[in-house]
């Protein structure tokens, strides 16, 4: 079966007895990351769920298949789709000179239309970051001076428009001081300090909800919106995260563990959403 079922399960996360299977030793790190991404979308309701990247896509689909059944999903190309193929599968093919698509299309949303959707605001994107600072300023354009970069990366892509217009979260599969820096070389995605300088009117649609990494979940739920350690993944210590972060994190006295997938979530991930196990290639272990 390649399609994902989307019946609302109406089940609170973590509720119910855990299978023998759902213990920290059987659950792999990538599974925890998938669930942490899914949790970013909790409460979003009928909104475009637009996670970019392998684990983000799996996490978004898990949220849709479980506790956020009204989310609108993209196929990563030009369609909003009610059913999706596993990540890495191209849903489009040519047959007798016509383009066909192996998924149930809810709406056609080509690129020009996507900008209308994002300026309209009903979207929550998960982007990557080559660098991110303590207020959530993000860089994916280049390393070094933009005028003559040491390393040219992706360019600004949609980051400035996304962050100032709707909710954004970040996925960082390699939590390290090279990514979590004191100061990003170029501000593409707008962080909380910049948003505050712009004032309440200009920044009224700005929200950086979470940063999910291979080690931890972080947020900005502090008085001055500095990045806070929200939870550490099983097997990771607070000291590990602090060491892998190039700025001073807000670390509460009690840091919980990131929750494990439920038995049903694990089944959905393994059997329906990511049967080819692409998540483990992004986060091994």
């Amino acid at each position: 079966m390649s399609s994902v079922r989307h019946e609302p399960t109406d089940r609170a996360a973590g509720e119910g007895a855990l299978d023998a299977d759902v213990t920290a030793d059987r659950v792999r790190r990538a599974d925890v990351c998938v669930v942490a991404i899914a949790e970013c979308f909790r409460g979003d309701g009928e909104r475009l769920c637009n996670p970019i990247g392998t684990i983000p896509m799996i996490g978004g689909r898990l949220a849709r298949a479980t506790f956020e059944p009204d989310l609108v999903m993209t196929d990563g190309f030009a369609m909003f789709t009610a059913s999706v193929l596993p990540p890495g599968t191209d849903p489009y093919r040519s047959r007798e000179g016509r383009l066909e698509i192996d998924s149930v299309v809810e709406a056609w949303n080509p690129y020009p239309q996507m900008f209308s959707v994002l300026w309209n605001g009903r979207r929550h994107v998960v982007m990557g970051a080559s660098q991110i600072d303590c207020y959530g300023n993000q860089n994916l354009a280049c390393i070094g001076d933009w005028r003559r970069p040491k390393v040219q990366l992706l360019g600004f892509r949609g980051a400035p428009g996304n962050t100032i217009n709707h909710t954004t979260s970040y996925w960082i599969p390699n939590h390290s001081p090279k990514v979590f820096v004191q100061k990003v070389d170029v501000v593409c995605g707008v962080g909380y300090d910049r948003a505050r300088t712009l004032g309440p009117v200009a920044s009224r649609f700005h929200e950086i909800r979470r940063v999910v990494t291979n080690l931890a979940v972080l947020d900005f739920e502090t008085p001055d919106n500095r990045m806070r350690l929200r939870s550490v993944h099983p097997g990771v210590t607070v000291a590990d995260v602090v060491e892998a972060t190039g700025f001073e994190l807000v670390v509460p006295d009690e840091v919980p563990e990131t929750r494990l997938p439920t038995a049903e979530e694990l089944r959905l991930i393994r059997e329906e959403i990511d049967p080819d196990n692409l998540r483990h290639t992004e986060v091994p272990g």
């Binding site: 369609m79 080509p110 600004f156 892509r157 400035p160 300088t197 712009l198 200009a202 700005h206």
Partner: protein, 295 residues
């Protein structure tokens, strides 16, 4: 029903171009790019070009061949190879100027040019480094009260990005310059066409106007001859970018192209084999031979 005949060749398109002009190129990344027109530019001595593009190998090839003064883009990527290696090295060597916009800002710049207004306002770009790094991007104060009843909001004023010439590639077209896309996305090709003084459109196949419905619904007939100066029939003209449903991306070729950025020698070899050919027909011939070899 008599419609104009705007059919021309790649060489005739290039004869209309001049050093130093601004050329907008349709498509997106490594998708439905007017590559036969780009290859024709590479066979000419044209230089000092400003290229406006949701960039892919069009930008990379023109940079590698030293034809570009400035690139205006939201990104430059080969999709399956995320970072365009030739564009990267041009940027890292300081060989070109750049205007690096948010993808949506670039759309607004094209729309402003198409609608003949000097700018369009947006929130996109506020708070980012774009206004600081690119002083040609200014802000504008709304003449209307803000949502709090106080003074008007300050917004980014994306300047009109006026194009001298736009180059786009469609699946089908008629001889009059009406174009039809059959893939999942038109990208910004209609805006490129309307933002330009002159638009040249290549296509996989020129068909009689009345045959468009044989290939797709009327919703796919999105380019009007109002905005098209000349039509080039170029089967395989988007190679090696994808042009569905006619063909997918030639990933093997794209890997060769990307590898050609590894050294000046590798680039010379790629150039002599694929770009220093007499015509688009010779390129397509060389491609057939290369595929035979591979078997």
């Amino acid at each position: 029903m008599r419609l104009p005949d705007k059919r021309i060749t790649e060489e005739e398109v290039v004869a209309e171009l001049r050093d130093g002009i601004t050329i907008g190129i349709g498509g997106w990344g490594s998708r439905r790019k007017p590559m036969s027109l780009v290859r024709a530019i590479l066979r000419s001595p044209l230089k000092d070009l400003t290229i406006v593009s949701y960039g892919g190998p069009d930008v990379g090839l023109l940079c590698a061949a030293g034809r570009v003064r400035k690139v205006i883009s939201g990104f430059v990527s080969l999709d399956s190879i995320p970072l365009e290696p030739h564009f990267r090295s041009a940027r890292q060597q300081g060989a070109i100027e750049a205007m690096d916009l948010d993808e949506g800002m670039l759309l607004l710049g094209l729309q402003a040019a198409a609608w003949r207004v000097p700018f369009l306002p947006t929130r996109a770009g506020l708070g980012s480094d774009i206004p600081e790094l690119m002083p040609e991007i200014r802000t504008v104060r709304s003449p209307y009260p803000g949502p709090d009843g106080a003074e008007g909001e300050e917004l980014i004023a994306v300047p009109a990005i006026q194009l001298d010439v736009a180059l786009i590639h469609m699946n089908r077209a008629d001889q009059a310059g009406n174009g039809q896309f059959l893939g999942s996305d038109l990208f910004m090709d209609d805006w490129f066409a309307m933002a330009a003084e002159q638009t040249f459109m290549s296509c996989e196949q020129i068909i009689p106007t009345e045959d468009f419905p044989r290939y797709g619904s009327f919703h796919t007939q999105r380019i009007s001859r109002l905005h098209v100066t000349g039509v080039v029939e170029a089967p395989g003209g988007a190679h090696f970018t994808e042009c569905p449903p006619d063909y997918g991306r030639d990933e093997a070729f794209q890997r060769e192209y990307a590898a050609a950025a590894s050294s000046p020698e590798a680039w010379e070899e790629f150039r002599s084999r694929w770009l220093d050919v007499d015509s688009e027909a010779a390129y397509q011939q060389a491609l057939r031979a290369w595929r035979e070899e591979g078997r």
